[in-house]
Symmetry: C2
Subunit: 230 residues, 2 copies
């Protein structure tokens, strides 16, 4: 296996969205809000909210727009429909203020010595740029939804991620904590690495092992760097 480039899922795989969103919800909405449950409820609306774009029923809009729309429903669900617009705007920014899982910054530095690296996420350029700056992550490019104007698991994101670096599909390693993402990558010929994130959903758990065949199954990103000899 000759891997030349690594492309990464971000939410859950590189950054801990639940803790970060819960932290910002607690800060902005106060103790009356169950912040963890709020983060879970918001995230639960995420995949369905992308469907109209994936189905071609809606022109591409970025995750800030998607998050702002679904936030209204979540606030209503939590009895906080009177939340002011300024607070809502700050809450949308919570997704720009997530912390990386602890081993990620150092592991990415190691991986970057041997490979070209890019996020291949449903996040747009500015959202990734903010997360990368916050956590000291250096990428060679930002691919994904902003680059492809569509959302995973649509084929464009995997095809474009391969084409952008120009290696063969099997030389491009899709890295994710989600089996569905890796199954889609496999369909387009990419190599795949699963990262266990047993606490992605907090008490709700997370994938501890891949549910589909993958090229590499790693305990975390440092383990992946070890296995790739970085």
């Amino acid at each position: 296996m000759a891997i030349r480039a690594l492309v990464f899922d971000v939410f859950g795989t590189l950054v801990d969205w639940r803790s970060g969103v819960a932290r910002e919800a607690a800060r902005l909405l106060g103790p009356a809000c169950d912040a963890g449950a709020f983060a879970d409820a918001w995230r639960a609306r995420y995949q369905p909210s992308l469907e109209p774009v994936r189905a071609g029923l809606r022109p591409f809009v970025d995750l800030d727009t998607i998050h702002a729309e679904s936030l209204g429903d979540v606030l209503a669900q939590f009895g906080m429909a009177d939340t002011p617009d300024a607070v809502r705007a700050e809450l949308v920014q919570a997704w720009h203020r997530l912390d990386a899982w602890p081993e990620v910054p150092d592991a990415l530095r190691r991986l970057r010595k041997n490979y070209l690296l890019a996020p291949n996420s449903n996040a747009h350029v500015r959202l990734i740029a903010d997360l990368a700056r916050r956590n000291g992550l250096i990428f060679d490019a930002i691919l994904g939804a902003g680059y492809s104007r569509d959302y995973k698991p649509k084929p464009a994101l995997y095809r474009d991620a391969v084409a952008a670096f120009g290696f063969a599909p099997e030389e491009t390693l899709m890295v994710a904590a989600h089996s569905g993402d890796l199954a889609a990558a496999t369909r387009h010929g990419l190599s795949t690495a699963h990262i266990a994130r047993p606490r992605e959903h907090g008490p709700g758990g997370g994938e501890t092992a891949p549910g589909v065949p993958v090229t590499i199954a790693a305990r975390d990103l440092a383990d992946l760097a070890d296995r790739l000899g970085c």
Copy 2:
């Protein structure tokens, strides 16, 4: 003036294409080829070769394809039509092996402390990634032709460069050594910085000052960093 992001032209502005292409031509074609003239002749075909894409007569193809096509004409012009395919492929890679102008790596490091940075070039992702790695340049994203699937000065490249970071157009500073690029950026509301590159074309010179109104006219990228207080 509140600038938040800087987007850069690359060939001529950040990297010295003529010296790099001439160096590779000398290495690969030998002393029978006037390497500087060869670089000039190849570059002269560059703008015309993009026209079919800009005009919508041809689907987007990247600069490796464009350079490979125009190389055939240049080799014929120089009486070297028998150059083997393997050497032609290496020559196309010359554009991935250009050196930055001397002050650029340090100036970009300074600018990145205060601003989001991205190339907004006609080069595609892999070409920029290779130039950035070679010269130790760190960007927050790669915008430009690969991101917009079109070529400057088409409106998409300026609009997309603004939208990708999400600041107001005037908060986005287009940095280039070419007045035409800056005139186009101005038409889309961006702020502009001209960088003098009097040796871009070797003995053929280069722009020593902007030929159009700009926000900032700088002697080089370090001077721009100085003026922006970095």
